[in-house]
Subunit: 215 residues, 2 copies
Amino acid sequence: MNESEGKAKTPNEKSRKEKHSFIAEARREQIIEAAIQTLDEIGYVKASLSQIAKRAGISTALISYHFSDKNDLMNQLLMKLLERFTSYILGKVRQEEAPERKLDTFIMASLAYQGTHHARNTALIEIIFNARTPDNIPYYKLGDDDEDQIMYELQQILRDGQEKGIFGTFHVEVMANVIQGAIGEYMMNSNITSKVELETYSDELIDIVEKAIKV
Amino acid sequence: MNESEGKAKTPNEKSRKEKHSFIAEARREQIIEAAIQTLDEIGYVKASLSQIAKRAGISTALISYHFSDKNDLMNQLLMKLLERFTSYILGKVRQEEAPERKLDTFIMASLAYQGTHHARNTALIEIIFNARTPDNIPYYKLGDDDEDQIMYELQQILRDGQEKGIFGTFHVEVMANVIQGAIGEYMMNSNITSKVELETYSDELIDIVEKAIKV
DNA sequence: ATAAAATTTGATTGACCATTCAAATAAAAA
DNA sequence: TTTTTATTTGAATGGTCAATCAAATTTTAT
């Protein structure tokens, strides 16, 4: 295969290191934002390329030009959403020093993200619960790298607090999972969201966790 | 409109009170079981009527004969799965008297259901996170009637314990949500499932909750 | 046994889907 | 400017889907 023969290389085929043009990068960004909006509005099942294109104000063919296929688009979107969420949480948590402060911040920041970035969060949930790997394993059963980064940080906070004698004895992995579950439940279920204010939930959850980890 | 003119009434059009024939009921049951299997194996997105029919060993048209449309099938399946789950949990919980025992049983039974009815649980998750009401509201944002039944029971246990002075002071709705979230997180995420045994998780979660509700 | 009703299927319909492609347009390089 | 390359589109393509229908088969009622 000679590079110079045949059709022009499409952006989606380029290697990772090779950077896209400004135009291509802006277009990709636009498509990704439209995809977030589409997932938030009509959900993964109905989020066809034409629906995404409609919201972006472009043709469906243009999406195929910038992404190798729908799966590629969804994967890149998933990565971007996880990156944003992760950097937001870690950014806040790493400003704190003491394990108790780190833990409180972790909980507050996670819940606050739901309030400030509702569409992104919904899009994230839609992808995680619908998209599957080539082996047909849903992402929600996977526990992928970036989510692990969040979980890893949480577990580190808990271990650190235990080592410093600030927290008592408990099963770190289970405790971390309980905290994650409590956060996730509020983010997903609008039944509780409508009845309990975000700040109330945040405060109460911090109270509950405080009691559970007390030395 | 005269009842006697036109084609034969199909079972799916019959009113709720009117009961189906044995054959129709058995067939409906068979289709529902095949749907559970299909959702567990390939997920909601790929669970087409033909995939369900293939697993049931029947034609796709037969599904349309017994259910008015795909949405009808999924709704009936969702209701059946929720009923089974609800009656399993409530059956166990109501054998207990003391609030502490009821609470422990609630947690243990919820987690045990994951172990004993894995396919049902996966199917339930797949529907809740994918199916939507006609208004395009996903079920996971809805908090529907049967799920409310479970949530109601949990909150009643907590309130009862508080009134009897066995539990301390805490925000009942938040506490119930935390417990539900901790259970749901374990059921969905196979990352934790593979690292922590069901029984360990159950015991540890009970410990955590015990500390959090202590008077 | 015969007629009527219920059940089942294979083939068809019409809609939508992701993807491709040749042609048009815009941008960049020469 | 002219040539080359990148971007964009509208129109096809081939596939799958849910749902319908007439005809065949089975069950039930008479």
